[in-house]
Amino acid sequence: MTELNYLTANYTLRSWFFTTDHKRIAILYFASLTLFFFIGGAGATAMRIELATPQADLVSDDIYNRLFTMHGIIMVWFFLIPSIPNTLGNFIAPLMIGARDLAFPRLNLLSWYIFMLGGSVTLFAILAGGIDTGWTFYTPFSTLYSNSYVMVAAAGVFIAGFSSILTGLNFIVTIHRLRAPGLTWYRLPLFLWSLYATSVILVLATPVLAITLVLIAVERCFGVGFFDPRIGGDPLLFQHLFWFYSHPAVYIMILPGMGVINELISCFSRKQVFGYKFVAWASLAIAALGFLVWGHHMFVTGQSLVASLVFSFMSFVVAVPSAIKVFNWTATLHKGSLRFDAPMLYALAFIGLFTIGGLTGLFLACLAFDVHATDTYFVVAHFHYIMVGGMVTAYFGGLHYWWPKITGRLYSEYWARTAAVLIFFGFNLTFFPQFILGAEGMPRRYHVYPPEFQLWNVLSSGGATILAAAYLLPLFYLGYSVFFGARASANPWDAPGLEWQTSSPPPEHNFDIQPVVTRAPYQYSRNFEAEPQNA
């Protein structure tokens, strides 16, 4: 290599920790998020081992409660929410629009530091003794009854929220202001439409979470009654505030995943995404409607019947744009020229798993069935199908797709496909039995359970073991590729996006010549004439 790229331009620690290069910041995020992913995953593995038997034979009840709380808090706030926007988005978005960097490079670095501060505070809470409230911090348990590190953990989440807001702002401004000449909105890759929709939710919803956490702190420390009825508060007020953030947050987690899938499906079908405009606007529709459905978490709390009816109705409506996307992805395959490289395997897995997650979401939106299924393993299975089967699968697909661009190296296609298949198999074995458990009535967050539920729990725990091993695989072959993988060309997938027009890895300033866009996205040549090197 004669030409310098963003990785080889400078080797000092200082050049990493004080960088304003979006690509290096993406790598910083990637390293931290990988760490958090495996911490959260270790918690899940420990829980599933404990649940292999109906008795409490591995950990005590208090430890178990701390385990699932830790798993939830870490996975939601320190993996799922930041994962795609802050790693793939950070790295790829400026390249995709032909920009040199994000609009506010220093803000970008600052948001990583804030994120790490929030993460460290939360890790401290976990190491110092843990939190046992569940990731939802429901009051009055969290404000008056929990003898654990609630305040420290809430502070960690509160701090991390600022990182979300700054990241969201940065993407919004970047997508508005820094597009290359000719890159109109309807020429924008769909990944950016979904990133844009995600950012809007981040900026609008995260402050509500921050306010809610402050109210918890004030009630817990000063006894001001917001949520505890004994001092004049209302426990349901907390749930309204919390879900006003946390339901849209679900779309923060899944929308970027959907965006990645558009890129993968179209690349490996050699076709334009079917119904580009519908898919683009579906992202914004999901973001907007996602704000109007929070009450479906409260169908059995005793909220008014009218509220339940409205929230149920809105929950069905918000499913429409998601359905549009699934149909459009499927239609994209029609008359394509399909190749089944690892990213495509992940994309196909995503469509199946996301659809199962989405359909079971309809079960839960359906009022009378929700009464039976809410707070059971049915809900656990549903959201893991969306979050893990959807979001994490999309993240892995995107990671493999852009890996040659990010590192300039090719990974072992054989191992990548093996991991994709194993993850799919392990995932379904872990979570499908949980639908059955939930339908039979097993409540979530149970540390010991009646013996009749054991069979499905054993299957689920077995699946979790396979899944945990499968998630470790990429750590090895991707890690290996960084040092020993073959060099990647600038455009190993023969894709038309702007990010593939610069070298792999890109130079510090992204493009030698300012690119100009003259055509719609996804204009693929109809076959892999240039046989991908990634074999």
């Binding site: 004994r230 149920s312 499913a319 659809t355 359909l359 009464v371 039976h372 409540p443 010991v448």
Partner: protein
């Protein structure tokens, strides 16, 4: 029998046996929920079947290198999108209406039913029958006869969940939650706490024992309580000095409580409420939130002075006053 629908066996309900890994519900609404579940399963199976079929078909037929007609792939129209958007919306609307109508049925109130009182606390269910019979982590009830639960929590949010009846309701501290149960088949059914409530959450379980009506009557007699809850409430009423204001001869002008239960009470803000359990409870704990028309807001709050157990005794005492001339 009040509810003509059969729970098990018998022509129309046989389908419920055919949903895999699913035990048919034993309540009248349970059948509706089961049917709804079957409908959702069927709709999902159709959608998934179609989707997986198309995915598999396209993956095989249009795999790279396969010689197949790929012409006119750009020729598409927005008619496809509009039609599947409309189709999804219509299906969803139908499911919404169906789910909502059963939901309204689940939480309806029946007149003239039995009552039992449930106090939830970390980590047990304490059930009391009006006659004074009390039980822990168990609820005895007669078959084919609706029973109304008045539930309160002493500490955090719990959730009263009986999978066999397809019913669940959160028990939120600071308010009464009403839940109607009807079981159509005798037996023992699991009772869970479904809302995470701390250390021994998974130990907060019990059973619902559905008995023949005669057996239930026997059971109530055998439990031989010392006194009814209303009588205990009366003793508490005197002990707390409530009669000082609320009795007929009192010098302080306070509303008379005889016959008030279930009747409309005009409030000083011009509205009218029905004096139900919730109103009486609120009047004891938050006396200044709803002032009866024509009275001074003099009553002190008993917040923190009475437990949930004592509150429901007071409510029952006041309810019993309604029956005395």
């Amino acid at each position: 029998m009040r509810f003509p629908r059969q729970v098990t066996g018998g022509g129309l309900s046989m389908w419920r046996q055919w949903i895999p890994f699913w035990h048919p519900g034993v309540s009248p609404e349970g059948g509706d929920v089961d049917l709804l579940f079957a409908g959702l399963l069927l709709a999902s199976a159709l959608v998934l079947g179609l989707l997986f079929f198309l995915l598999a078909l396209f993956c095989v037929r249009y795999r790279a290198g396969n010689e197949v007609d790929r012409e006119n792939h750009e020729a598409k129209s927005w008619h496809w999108e509009v039609s599947w958007t409309t189709a999804s919306l219509l299906c969803f609307l139908a499911l919404f209406v169906w789910g909502a109508s059963v939901y309204l049925e689940l939480y309806r109130r029946l007149p003239d039913e039995l009552t039992a009182f449930v106090v939830a606390k970390q980590w047990m269910w304490k059930v009391q029958h009006p006659g004074g019979q009390s039980e822990i982590n168990a609820l005895h009830m007669p078959v084919d006869r609706p029973i109304r639960l008045v539930m309160a929590s002493q500490d955090v949010i719990h959730s009263f969940f009986i999978p066999a009846l397809r019913l669940k309701h959160d028990v939120v501290p600071g308010r009464y939650q009403d839940l109607e149960l009807t079981a159509q088949k005798t037996g023992h059914y699991a009772l869970f706490c479904a809302e995470y409530c701390g250390t021994a959450h998974s130990g907060m379980i019990g059973e619902v024992v559905v008995m023949e009506q005669a057996d239930f009557a026997n059971w109530l007699t055998q439990q031989a309580p010392t006194s009814s809850l209303a009588d205990e409430g009366g003793a508490l009423f005197r002990q707390l000095g409530c009669g000082g204001c609320h009795s007929a001869g009192s010098k302080i002008h306070a509303p008379q409580l005889e016959g008030i239960y279930g009747s409309p009470v005009p409030l000083s803000d011009g509205t009218t409420v029905i004096a139900d359990d919730k109103y009486i409870r609120d009047s004891i704990l938050l006396p200044r939130s709803q002032i009866a028309a024509g009275y001074e807001p003099l009553m002190p709050s008993f917040e923190g002075k009475v437990t949930e157990d004592q509150l429901l005794r007071l409510v029952l005492y006041i309810k019993s006053l309604g029956r005395q001339p």
